[in-house]
Symmetry: C2
Subunit: 197 residues, 2 copies
DNA sequence: TTCTGCATTCAGATGATTTTAAATGATCAC
DNA sequence: GTGATCATTTAAAATCATCTGAATGCAGAA
């Protein structure tokens, strides 16, 4: 059952894991969690904890903690193999579903609570007559930001279900519509050209 | 010129700064950087370093470092006031432009290099005849992921310039289109209901 | 029941990031 | 030139997130 892997495959897999781990940090996911996910995403068959530990040279505790977090998120699923007491794990394989899950988690854990707080903060101000120009402006700024979070959430919720590996083409079409409608082609250029380092 | 602020305003401002700082962490920006940005975003007039230091109770070095980072990102601009040697700073005020800048930075610093690496990784594999089923699958998985990053970038670049405070309405329309076109209303539900903690 | 094989938890170790405080640099007024 | 004012850099300290390894828990086998 265990199929032989070429050296190139092994090397590429290792790199893939490293890169995915790095990217994970960019998405509010810790390195190990990302690497475990990469390993499971790349492998066709489910792996057990010991294999994961060995492959990534991490401790059992670390492996366990992060596997469970991945399970909670819904990115990884437990698989039971009959006649074997060990737990095996496998990853969700559709990248879009994966992205949707990650975005949903971040929304829930990081954006929603802040939106709630800011809305409260706004309520406090709402009753008062703004006593000065700067108060009025401040008020507007918070409102603007909350509106942004709202629309962003709305947008995310609309877009995510729409995309999956099955209808990437449709998304491309939508992207094109957006681009056409966009008369001012403003995409702020990076203001500095990696001058140093 | 200095206008008096009500207690409610001051309290709300403090909270706003705290929340923004928290949210910043979720976006790959450190807390102080986020708080300075919040302060400058909320204030109508430019502030100098000493005011910022006092307002956030942070050291000069810390203030300086983070102001400069914000400037490099293009989220904050230096303002010179005639007859004053001090530098004053003010923030970009359009939330969408702000979001666009943040996303662009993250794209550049975190996603692009990984995409480049993965593409190379893929090139290595490309020449080889896949020697087994799992190699073929692995190959497909990386391809899938790179395609995802490509489309994501493309999408981001299309959408961001399109949105700004001036045309939020158009975005709403687009969101509606997306929602209508989306026949399968799949938005993965969170698999766990904050059972503990 | 006890033993075995895993899964899970947790206190402390490690390592990364952020912050500070003090030193240095730059520019202007005199 | 000198002193004053602010900006910038730096090394070391503080803080924070992550990881480990040993202890504990739990379920099935004998």
């Amino acid at each position: 059952m265990e199929d032989q892997k070429s050296a190139a495959h092994t090397k590429a897999l290792k790199q893939f894991i490293v890169y995915w781990g790095e990217m994970a940090s960019a998405w509010g996911i810790n390195k190990t969690m990302g690497q475990i996910h990469a390993l499971l995403y790349a492998e066709s068959r489910p792996l057990d904890t010991d294999t994961i530990m060995a492959e990534l040279t991490i401790s059992r505790g670390n492996a366990n903690m992060n596997i469970r977090k991945l399970e909670q998120w819904g990115l990884v699923h437990k698989v039971n193999i009959k006649g074997d007491r060990k737990d095996y794990y496998t990853a969700e394989k559709d990248v879009w579903t994966t992205a949707a899950i990650i975005i949903r988690e971040r929304q829930q854990r990081e954006i929603d609570p802040i939106k709630k707080n800011l809305t409260e903060c706004l309520d406090t101000l709402a009753g008062l007559q703004p006593s000065s120009e700067s108060e009025k402006i401040f008020h507007q700024r918070i409102e603007g930001f909350v509106a942004f979070l709202d629309l962003f959430e709305d947008f995310t919720k609309s877009m995510l279900p729409y995309v999956s590996e099955k209808n990437v083409a449709s998304l491309r079409r939508l992207t094109k519509i957006a681009r056409m409608k966009s008369n001012d082609q403003y995409f702020p250029p990076s203001p500095y050209n990696k001058e140093n380092e």
